[in-house]
Subunit: 374 residues, 2 copies
DNA sequence: CTGTTAGCGCCTTCAC
DNA sequence: GTGAAGGCGCTAACAG
């Protein structure tokens, strides 16, 4: 089906020298010394030839190249990393790989990283700050050239750890850090602005008793979304506020939030909430499912809005109104910031880059009454 | 919030020696030579002390340990990897990180790997065989100790590439390979058996015109599910068969499958299909969404069954009947097989391990008429 | 118990 | 243009 020899022959020998003959890979791995012996030159010469660097006669170069390809030479990146003090690898830390928000970030980072010839270490933390620190340190032990941390629980404290901000040996870029005020490179989503948009939409639709279903351990991100909710209601002269906090942001926790939510609403308003603004889509989708199980219909009885813009949000019933974050792009941009920093050999002198991206409000039926739209 | 110094003090110095004083990490990274100089011993002695190996007086050992901790020593895993010919890292190849099926596999692998002190390289292929080969070779260049490949498009051909099956320098474990008959270590799901269960359920519910919505590039996996579908219908004396193939397995492709499906059904049966068995949950959820857009109700007009057991499948409307694969466990088991192989220094002599896991049929409302269950 | 010597595979001065 | 020597940080073999 796939002709590997052919595949190989088309690539530059140095970047991915594939063996002409299968079976060659079985031998102990060949080094530049082996090539040198076969070519009758010294290994530094082979090294230069393979990297296309230095003045070398075309004749010896092509001879070396063809031998390299013949015996299936493949540069040892570990050895190169040791001498170069640069591994061409970066580490990515996420809290939960299974969460669609994070998996899109991983996808973006992976693409950018691979596209630039780097390799990617992946580690997860399950939102445990100590585990996060442990993973970051393990990456440093691996001598990665840079680190990206999504949903950091530690955030600004890295600056303290490393004493004076960015002056650490390996640059760090944060994505949607849960921690406050990081003097570090970062890519964030405009959570406050986005949440204001959602709230404005809900008010415009005529909802007044708007509850917030938040994330107890959501740190800065949750705080921003909640603040937008609260300020919007205050500006509109609406009170009291009803907020519930979920300890995790899974579908099941969304379902489980229905009862406390309805109970609290009954206490405060003696009625159902008009609408619920959820910390994220998983909670929102779970909530809708739970409401349906209680024979409450969305949006007629209770409207629901989410946050994130998961693909599946468009395909549930009713389709979910949500603030779509450019998750893939956030990963991509974070990786590009890091790779840029790495080009500058002296990344420690760079001022912190702070990039804030805007999402897009996707209005769907879960918040729109008297409409057949989707 | 988090006291790093404290966190560190509790760990063994060798595994994660954190600095007592912040700011120490700013210095050029310290090596065992620095410690040796401070302690007035030779570096090999430091090396031995740190690894708790060899006979060393308790006095010098503890002196070395405390100096190491004091100056924030951290072993350089690149250097260690070079001399040990073993990096304590493994590579994981997936086709699409964003796909929930793969992200759960990643999660399982990552957990097992980290739990055993290994690091994880991640690469994706977008289902391109050449890209898959490229990623695998880049991992070999990184000198990973082993490789796990999910949904391989190449599969058995690795054996050919490496001439005689398992006798390659780095062991490979396949998860749900799309390619046929691999003489390689593998973890698979019993797709044929699982699909038989789904089909038996559909027949039992009285459906007769059962279509299959497949994955054109699903290889072995798709073939097995489709074969189960076809054989079940044949055994039941049902024909003709209606199968549609989607080029990708996304929600949108599920939506887009509605029209060709209904057209074909009209041609073959002059009626709607009774039920549609889908290659996976994403296609199924998209299909349901698309049917709803045409004012067709599930399961009354058309029943729909999926495959994978995504969490969200339980929370859409109607809840989706699906064959739940133990995705996380598949990743976990694959990693454990690999790690076991790695303990045996001579993994080349091991016979291929082939593990087949069984899923669980989750019957929900999308295939059950005249019922209020879910 | 500890120091000396050597080398993993590669790159980078320098000479020639 | 090319070879010789040295070292990245670590572990391994052998002395003592």
């Amino acid at each position: 089906m796939v002709n590997f020899a052919h595949t190989f022959a088309q690539k530059k020998a140095i970047s991915a020298p594939l063996p002409r003959h299968k079976a060659i890979l079985n031998r102990k791995r060949v080094s530049i010394k082996d090539i040198a012996a076969l070519a009758g030159v010294s290994h530094p010469t082979v090294s230069r030839a393979l990297r296309g660097e230095g003045r070398i006669s075309d004749e010896t170069r092509s001879r070396i190249m063809s031998i390299a390809q013949e015996i299936g030479y493949m540069p040892n990146l570990v050895a190169r990393g040791l001498v170069m003090q640069r591994t061409n690898s970066i580490g990515l830390v996420v809290t939960n790989i299974g969460d669609p928000f994070h998996s899109e970030i991983i996808r973006g980072v992976e693409f950018a990283v691979r596209d630039n010839g780097y390799s990617l270490f992946l580690g997860s933390t399950t939102a445990d700050p100590e585990q996060e620190v442990r993973v970051v340190h393990s990456f440093r032990g691996r001598s990665v050239d840079g680190i990206i941390i999504a949903s950091s629980e530690v955030g600004a404290q890295y600056a303290e750890m490393f004493d004076d901000g960015l002056h650490m040996d390996v640059p760090i870029v944060l994505i949607s850090s849960h921690a406050e005020g990081s003097p570090l490179h970062s890519v964030t989503h405009d959570d406050y602005g986005g949440a204001r948009q959602v709230m404005a939409h809900l008010l415009e639709q005529g909802y007044r008793r708007i509850a917030y279903l938040g994330h107890r351990f959501g740190g800065r991100v949750n705080a921003e979304r909640r603040r937008a909710w609260q300020e919007t209601l205050q500006s509109a002269g609406l009170a009291p506020f009803l907020a519930i906090n979920s300890t995790e942001t899974t579908l099941d926790h969304g379902v489980a939030s229905v009862n406390p939510l309805l109970r609290r609403a009954d206490e405060q308003w003696g009625a159902l909430p008009d609408a619920v603004f959820c910390y994220n889509d998983l909670l929102a989708i779970g909530l809708i499912s739970g409401l349906r199980a209680q024979n409450l219909s969305v949006p007629e009885d209770v409207a629901v809005a989410g946050f994130d813009g998961l693909d599946v949000a468009a395909h549930i019933e009713p389709p979910l109104t949500t603030m779509s974050q450019p998750r893939y792009e956030m990963g991509l941009r974070a990786a590009n910031i890091l790779l840029d920093l790495l080009k500058n050999h002296d990344h420690t002198s760079q001022p912190p880059q702070e990039l804030s991206l805007r999402g897009e409000l996707l209005v769907r039926r879960s918040t729109v009454r008297n409409s057949s739209g989707g």
